[in-house]
Amino acid sequence: MKKKVIVACGGAVATSTVAANAVVDLAKENGIDVEIAQVRISEIASNLPADLIVTTSKVKRDFGVPLITGMPFISGIGVDKTKAKILEVLKK
């Protein structure tokens, strides 16, 4: 089944593009079919429902969907841990 992932950042241009690419590559490697919605943080609510939200900044608001910080994709530090967390949600 296709999983929907919302990838959000401040401007929907720079950091979310990096994070979205990382999520797509990760899903491909693991044979998971994903659909990405790359948006600004203010647009998350309108793009629900989804299976997972990945944001490149800390978002405290609860959307009722698993939310993972994709900041490691930007900084390059702790990428493996984040990938594992994302896979855990997507494999459910």
Binding site: G11, R40, S57, M71, I74
Partner: protein, 452 residues
């Protein structure tokens, strides 16, 4: 000149927006990206440029005349539309200086790290466009390539130093350890917030004021979305311009389209640059194993903080209001409205989330930046014309990055056409910097105390 010289001239003659795709593809191949992927990346950059011209034309042809009519009706002067950073960044990337700006900015960073002049390792290649902007403007205004490169260097040095200065604020407020944002926009305006904070601290009574707007984001809902902001703003400008309901409604829908499509198009350029920037990031972060360094990231990572979101929402209408108040202002804020957070994100950290203070310093910041952006209109227009990305407008303005004091001061140094403005902005900025260094030291000391 021979064959090689002719070839180089031929490529340069194609225009920057055709040249950069080629340069990006070649550079990508050089750093080890696969040929097919590199060609795709280069083409994607070209797609971004073509798309941007389409969208800016759509904006200028529709919002431009409406803004003019509105101004006539109300005795205002807001007839130059702000294209914002989604519009200004592609124009900057298309400038001839952009191709050398990336290695120059990275080189400055490495040199400063080696000489222990900074602790910031900037992996945010996309935002090198801010540093490039200063160089591109200086080059287009003076016609001297060396001055242009000097502009990139100066802006880069200041940005990395800002990265060091704000590192304690990133840790104590945003809880981001060993991370900072050596960014073009967010950093250079925060010194104003540092000054406002120091002044408020001295005023009895006022220094105790604080309020918060819990859950403003949930309450305003879709109103905060770019698509709705564009629609409302377009509709209101249409009505104020004296259009009938039909005309205003059509303008609103077109502006919704601009708001939604603009970042999607700018994203193409980011996508094209990505294979290159990802490789650069790998090379740069290899050396950052120990915690003696700060990793420099895009301030987009701050825009999810709820206090930043709340302040950003309030500043959408407030910025339009400030634009009306600034004496002699001709810019109608538009392209930057949905991401005002970039201007005030660090101010929020300076005030530790005190919304009252953020409103005051944010107003000063927007006033200051709108004022500078006005003086920079001839320069931003010249830059856009030099790369054929004016979208049919006779004047181009952008709050982000036209309102940059670093660009302004650096370029004025060589043109000297407004010494009064140069002196006033220079003095204000130097004073603000003193307060910034002071605040950074205070916050770093407080952090140290906490940790022991």
């Amino acid at each position: 000149m021979g064959i090689i010289g002719d070839a180089i001239n031929y490529i340069i003659d194609m225009g920057a927006s055709a040249m950069l795709p080629l340069v990006i593809a070649v550079l990508s191949i050089i750093v080890g990206v696969k040929v097919g992927k590199a060609i795709r990346a280069g083409l994607m950059v070209g797609v971004g440029f073509v798309g941007l011209d389409l969208i800016v034309t759509l904006m200028n042809e529709n919002l431009g005349p409406a803004a003019q009519k509105m101004s006539e009706n109300f005795g205002l002067s807001l007839n130059v539309v702000d294209i914002g950073w989604p519009g200004m960044s592609p124009i900057t990337w298309a400038s001839s200086i952009a191709t050398v700006a990336i290695p120059v900015a990275i080189g400055v960073n490495i040199l400063m790290l080696v000489l222990k002049l900074t602790k910031t390792i900037n992996v945010d290649i996309w935002n090198i466009w801010h540093m490039t902007f200063t160089g591109a403007i200086a080059y287009v205004v003076t016609g001297n390539f060396a001055i242009g490169i000097a502009g990139v260097v100066v802006h880069a040095v200041i940005a990395y130093k800002f990265g060091d200065l704000y590192a304690p604020l990133m840790e104590d407020y945003f809880e981001l350890e060993d991370i900072t944002v050596p960014h073009g926009t967010a950093t250079y305006l925060a010194p104003i917030a540092c000054t406002v904070d120091a002044v408020i601290e001295k005023i009895p009574g006022v220094k105790k004021i604080n309020f918060s707007l819990e859950n403003l984001q949930e309450k305003v809902g879709v109103l905060a979305e770019p698509i709705v902001i564009g629609g409302i703003l377009g509709g209101i400008v249409g009505l104020l311009a004296g259009y009938d309901f039909k005309g205003a409604f059509q303008l609103g829908i077109k502006m919704s389209a601009v708001m939604v499509l603009m970042p999607k198009i700018t994203k193409c350029i980011m996508e094209g640059l990505m294979p290159l920037t990802e490789r650069m990031k790998e090379i740069l972060t290899k050396r950052s194993g120990d915690s003696e360094f700060y990793i420099g990231l895009d301030p987009a990572i701050l825009l999810g903080d709820s206090d930043v979101v709340t302040a950003g929402l309030i500043f959408i209408p407030l910025t339009v209001l400030i634009a009306v108040i600034v004496p002699g202002n001709v810019i109608l804020p538009f392209g930057d409205l949905a991401t005002i957070g970039f201007f005030i994100a660090i101010a929020v950290a300076v005030h530790k989330g005190n919304l009252f203070r953020t409103l005051i310093s944010g107003s000063c910041i927007m006033f200051f930046t709108i004022w500078i952006a006005n003086q920079a209109i001839p320069w931003t227009t010249a830059l856009a014309q030099s790369v054929n990305l004016t979208g049919g407008a006779s004047q181009i303005a952008a709050l982000d990055q036209g309102g940059c004091p670093i660009t302004y001061l650096f370029t004025q140094l060589f043109t000297r056409d407004n010494m009064f403005g140069f002196a006033v902005i220079g003095i204000i900025y130097v004073i603000c910097m003193i307060f910034t260094v002071r605040l950074s030291k205070q916050r770093a000391a407080a952090l140290k105390e906490e940790n022991y």
